[in-house]
Symmetry: C2
Subunit: 261 residues, 2 copies
Amino acid sequence: MATGRTHRPATRSRGIPEATVARLPLYLRALTALSERSVPTVSSEELAAAAGVNSAKLRKDFSYLGSYGTRGVGYDVEYLVYQISRELGLTQDWPVAIVGIGNLGAALANYGGFASRGFRVAALIDADPAMAGTPVAGIAVQHTDDLDRIISENGVSIGVITTPPGAAQQVCDRLVAAGVTSILNFAPTVLSVPDGVDVRKVDLSIELQILAFHEQRKAGEEAAADGRAPVDTDADEAPPMRATPTGRKGPDGDMPAVMPA
Amino acid sequence: MATGRTHRPATRSRGIPEATVARLPLYLRALTALSERSVPTVSSEELAAAAGVNSAKLRKDFSYLGSYGTRGVGYDVEYLVYQISRELGLTQDWPVAIVGIGNLGAALANYGGFASRGFRVAALIDADPAMAGTPVAGIAVQHTDDLDRIISENGVSIGVITTPPGAAQQVCDRLVAAGVTSILNFAPTVLSVPDGVDVRKVDLSIELQILAFHEQRKAGEEAAADGRAPVDTDADEAPPMRATPTGRKGPDGDMPAVMPA
DNA sequence: ATGTCTTTGTGAACGCGTGCACAAAGATGG
DNA sequence: CCATCTTTGTGCACGCGTTCACAAAGACAT
């Protein structure tokens, strides 16, 4: 019970936990699928299964948005699609600019999932002059020199960075200077941005490394279960000769032990 | 995060928290950069800044791996690179198969970050017979029919799915049946997998929607600060006529008037 | 109405992750 | 050897997120 106040969650984007926000798109996708199948209502149990989450969690998530369900029945699909869309800000148009039109940038430009929900690829930007004018996914690539103007003229507030890592921070700075306040970073770089700017990163190599960790652990457990010698996964087998703090070993010769105190 | 039912009630395995594992690749990247600059040691403060995290958090993370630092000095870069690499399982070779060679799949195949650390693109698989044999990133695409054999012969345990959403679950099932136990899913689908299989997803559209949410919130606050009428971000303005079950086609045509306001 | 049945919404407990703050450990200099 | 200085490693407290379990709300049948 929302403390008896109205069923309206008092303007609270503030009150919506980040973890919940991250799941809303998941619910929305499942609901959209139901909507296309003309399913009128859905229970928390069913929807949770479709979204791959716990039903109690789903109900709590929805409770942050308000009381949109009916006890004994479930949730009205269309109504919920609308409420979540509105909460996520998908009822308005979001022009997006992609900077760095290499393999990945081009792939994203062609990606259908973009236009589907409020997002529109408004500009493609690349530093290579040779690419200027070349159409990618039906949109002419523009040169980085015009980045500022392009962002302003199109009212872009969300930028996608798909440049090589070395250029990412610079591009980021320029985007922010031009007025972008949300960045989706595909470059394997830690971006630093001023307060008020949101950055989310998508990092293939990090994801793979996390999978490798679990994969290795599984292999080790399996070996142990087989009764064989477990994979040596944590002993200090042949470390690269833990460098003595003072004297560095061989190759680097007389590297002065620099290390700004 | 992983979507499947991969919930492990804290295996006694390694006491390394999931959150820490997710940051290790970040530290590793920063350390590798330092290593290339021949920096011998680094303090938790410096490294934390480079990785974009809190220094106390970094120290605690490292403490799960062991005591690899030297008080008063810091951490030996080379030694730490080795320890983290080993912990993540990057000292061994991980053959990876990419299924679905469209724009995105091809872009990933060409992505350099792959080979860099233990990962090797061992096979490209696509359902389109016309693509079979076509070289992408120097590797000939093979047909889905041979998926099982390809996975087995190459000892692939990590699969990357870049197919259209409709094919993702089926491809996933086949990968798992063939022996894959870790999946990186780029398709906008919730994959269900048996226990013991890890799934991580990369979802462009979800990331954008999360950014849109915050963007909308920022716009609302800004408007409020300007003294203008705040963006209506939560009132029940013009809902799609809450569940007016008016003539919903379907088996149950009668459709009671549910969902009162 | 009354009773039964279904499903929501949420109080409460728990566990994980984060950040502070500090003692311990080691380096360094006299 | 002792004093001082730097930086690690961690005990502790706090807050967020998850999950359980259940009372309340409403649908539906009689």
